[in-house]
């Protein structure tokens, strides 16, 4: 492996100083990674262009400082939750600053969002007590026009059994604040009703315990259990839900409403196996939470070595989730209002597939480049609306393309 520039300088300095003073020379190294990403959904829905950077400094004592920066620019449109209709609909925007006209017989898309998100993170990882035990702490902050996230994380890991087993424990806390444009809507109130506070908050605690086990000289396994509890404002302030009568006429549009607590469990297993230089990375995740959502995720990547400095890695992912207990594409106007209701397409039952590949190749000065292209397809379970909305679909699903170029240097 070619020595990094700082190591070369350190060695050169060491040789000038003489062997007796070599031990005082520091050779801390920085590893950098940067990437640009484009994410684009079909039908002019969400488009995202982003830049990511990560810098990692490892010092002589094997302490690791990691710094991260990300910038996302979002445009496009997102389903509003308002039911589709055979009539043109003119509806007040979520901000209350104007109206949106939804064409007849089409999905109602809110095209008023435009946002830039900046995130920063830093973490420190070092050994304590002995070389087999490491601790890490991290902080993160991200800001959008109407959203602020502050996060803290910590973890400890210990290697056992001749470094064949690693036990790990992690705890994270995040405090998020949302300031919806035009104040926070009140759950299940009419969209024209007076709004509530100018901002709301959400606290999330994550706990993860895991084991990583070397199974053979070519195979390694990881199993994690995770628990997540979120408290506070869990609504999407820009999503609505319609009350529709039996003939398909929309009689009222309401702001959505979700419970203010959510407890979720994840069981995750990942396996890597080296097939004579080609590596299979596979994982499975089971999730269950008290929103009533269960999901399964299966993921597989197969890294095929093309030469010493080139490889290609096909990627396949399958995801299925059940609907939240309170999900409904629309409400029956003849029924009493439920305690909670949301028509957010992300809470519906659906299958999703990702198919793609990453091509990696070595560049000059030991740089490692990658180009990734993936297709994502979300396919919801079909739900029937009323007879008056025959042929209309409240949640048709979508396809997305993900393209990224990254470099490690």
């Amino acid at each position: 492996m070619q020595l990094k520039k700082s190591s070369k300088i350190a060695l050169a300095a060491a040789s000038l100083l003489g062997a007796s003073q070599v031990s005082i020379v520091s050779a801390a190294d920085w590893d950098h990674e940067a990437a640009v990403l484009y994410y684009g959904e079909s039908d002019d829905r969400v488009q995202d262009a982003s830049f990511k950077y990560k810098g990692k400094r490892t010092n002589d004592d094997d302490n690791v400082l990691t710094l991260g920066l990300g910038v996302d620019t979002l445009t496009g449109s997102s389903p509003s939750g308002i039911a589709p209709s055979g009539d043109v609909q003119i509806v007040a925007t979520p901000s209350g600053n104007g109206t949106t006209t939804y064409p007849a017989n089409e999905l109602t898309l809110d095209d008023t969002f435009l946002d830039t998100r900046v995130d920063l993170s830093a973490s420190w990882d070092q050994s304590i007590i002995d070389d087999n035990t490491r601790v890490n702490v991290g902080v993160s902050v991200s800001k959008e026009y109407d959203y602020l996230h502050l996060g803290l994380s910590s973890g400890i890991s210990r290697e056992l059994n001749n470094k064949n087993t690693t036990l790990s424990l992690g705890l994270a806390y995040s405090a998020d604040t949302i300031e919806p444009v035009g104040n926070t809507p009140i759950g299940l109130s009419d969209i024209s009703a007076a709004k509530g506070a100018s901002d709301e908050s959400k606290d999330t605690i994550d706990f993860v315990v895991g084991i990583t086990q070397v199974l053979s000289k070519n195979t390694i396994l990881q199993v994690n259990y995770g628990l997540t509890q979120a408290d506070g404002y869990l609504n999407d302030p820009y999503k609505r839900i319609s009350r529709v009568n039996s003939t398909g006429t929309i009689v009222q549009n309401l702001n959505e409403s979700r419970p203010d607590k959510r407890l979720g469990h994840n069981l995750y297993g990942a396996l890597k196996h080296d097939f004579s230089g080609n590596v299979l990375s596979s994982s499975a995740r089971l999730h269950s939470d008290d929103f009533g959502i269960d999901s399964i995720t299966l993921d597989a990547k197969y890294n095929i070595k093309l030469s010493n400095r080139r490889s290609i890695e096909p990627h396949l992912r399958y995801y299925h989730q059940s609907a939240a207990d309170f999900y409904a594409p629309q409400l029956n106007a003849a029924d009493p209002l439920p305690a909670f209701a949301s028509a957010d397409y992300r809470l519906a039952e659906f299958d999703a597939y990702t198919l793609g590949a990453t091509y990696r190749f070595g560049g000059s000065k030991d740089r490692e480049w990658r180009i990734t292209g993936e297709l994502y397809s979300q396919n919801p379970k079909k739900t029937n609306l009323t007879a008056g909305q025959a042929g209309l679909d409240a949640n048709p699903g979508f396809d997305a393309i993900m393209l990224s170029v990254g470099v490690k240097f």
Partner: protein, 75 residues
């Protein structure tokens, strides 16, 4: 096409783990393959976190390999 491949991939993963269990207790000098970055969990953390953030924005569940992604009011 994609659906039909999934059971095969799961079987490959399971069979790999079962066959591997017969030879536990890897010695330090046998770790050549395990030391490769492609055999390290989290070696491509930028890809992982970017993917997790996209899926967090488009699906109702997140997390697993690490803490749940998030920190956004995603559309």
């Amino acid at each position: 096409m994609i659906k039909s491949l999934i059971p095969s991939l799961v079987m490959i993963a399971l069979l790999s783990s079962i066959s591997a269990c017969s030879s536990s207790g890897v010695k330090p000098w046998e770790r050549g393959n395990l030391a490769k970055s492609s055999m390290t969990f989290g070696a491509d953390s930028m890809i992982d976190t970017t993917d997790d953030h996209i899926y967090f924005s488009k699906e109702a569940t997140s997390g697993g390999r690490s803490f749940g992604a998030g920190g956004c009011g995603c559309n």
